[in-house]
Amino acid sequence: MIEFKLPSLGSDMDEGTLLEWKVGVGDTVKKGQVVAIVDTSKAAVDIESWQEGRVHQLIAGIGQTMSVGTVMALLLEAGETAPAEVGAGGTAPATAGPAAAIAAPAAASRRMVSPAARKHAEEKGVDLANITGTGPRGAVTLQDVEAAAATLQPTPQAAPVATKITDRAADMRKTIAAAMSRSKREIPHYYVAEDIPLAAALAWLQATNAQRPMNERLLPAVLLLKAVAIALKRYPELNGYWRQENDGGFVPSVAIHLGVAISLRQGGLIAPALLDADSKPLTLLMQELTDLVKRTRAGSLKSSEMSESTITVTNLGDQGSQAVFGVITPPQVALVGFGRVAERPWAENGELKVLPVVTASLSADHRVSDGHRGALFLRELSDLLQHPEDLDQ
């Protein structure tokens, strides 16, 4: 019997609330399949299964808030027979009883609502309690919310909705505060920075984009992300996790999954992962970044994207400050920051020029690496960005 537990989706998550089951008793579950949607303090997240099996029992009820590690469901392994089926001579649908018994009170206490519908309801000021769901098992769908919004009177529900959004923002602030406090308490940070000329990278980007249709153009951020991913291959001590077990120690990661800090319009930020960023061509990376930003802001991320980042990259972009020195997200051991790309005076070979320049910074865990290696990493990053054509592989 496989116990399907609520996974940790980052060090800042202690608990989650089940919003929706995406599978039913008797369904076959494959690796990577989304089986549930769980609300964290940051977002509604699609929870994937990393094991294969057949759903024997759904233990968690809709609306139930549970701690990380709580058993949410039981799955039968391939060839395994359900215990109750043995007792019934293998003829009865063994799980119907317990599953129904658990599902009934939960359904009565909390509505099943898709994340898109919940978000739309918040935006439109629609009270979900007043909607009759037309989806599977009475779930409230986006269409249900739209229909309800069309009949909504202008003002009465504005106050509670505003309060709800404020609560959510406050919850997220609290979560970020806890994670960042823990980071500063436990991780001895050091910081190094490097100004990187981007004339070659931006010229290459301009020439490349001139050949591309609008919807396939690349942003400078993609070049920066790819360069970070490739540079990390030579500096594995920056890519991985610090584990507390057995007196603590660093566990490097072979995979390079970049957590990309994405600010939310309502405040706060989430850093979901761009998986295997080192091995993807720029066009694919741009597509995945676009999709990731869109889904992050729509509140529709996968659990793997929330939990598998091996390092974080924060990019303040062209509206940001000159430089950023970030706080490491535990259990990661490093964070790379990029400030605003701007024209600055640049002295080289006795000459003064004006070039587009970005300040790259590294915040790293001194238990794992030293400033010297950190500085070399940034130099490697700078060198890679002088040959942008080599990044598109």
């Binding site: 935006e123 301009q206 984009n209 001139a210 609008m214 919807n215 153009r217 942003l219 400078p220 951020a221 600010s263 319009r265 309502q266 970044l289 676009t290 930003v293 972009g317 062209d318 509206q319």
Partner: protein, 83 residues
């Protein structure tokens, strides 16, 4: 398409990306990105949205000319007039 229709399209596109924006409070002659929190991905999506709605190609080399909402409207009007 006249100037008012183009401005309405531009605002609708902007609101689809930044729903918190109060369109009435936007100053057409002030830098748009000083008034609305748009990162580079938002800005790209804004221009892409205009491209899809108006069937106007906006070369990257022209991005630097699009600072204010008035710039955007005038640019699109000229492009549509030239088409």
């Amino acid at each position: 398409m006249n100037e008012t229709e183009i401005r309405t399209t531009a605002l609708t596109t902007l609101l689809s990306i930044a729903p918190e924006v109060e369109a009435d409070e936007l100053r057409g002659d002030r830098p748009l990105r000083n008034q609305v929190d748009l990162d580079s991905m938002d800005w790209l999506n804004f221009l892409l949205g205009l491209h899809e709605k108006l069937k106007v190609d906006i070369p990257e080399a022209d991005y630097a000319r699009l600072i204010t909402l008035d710039d955007v409207v005038a640019y699109l009007q000229k492009k549509l007039g030239d088409a």
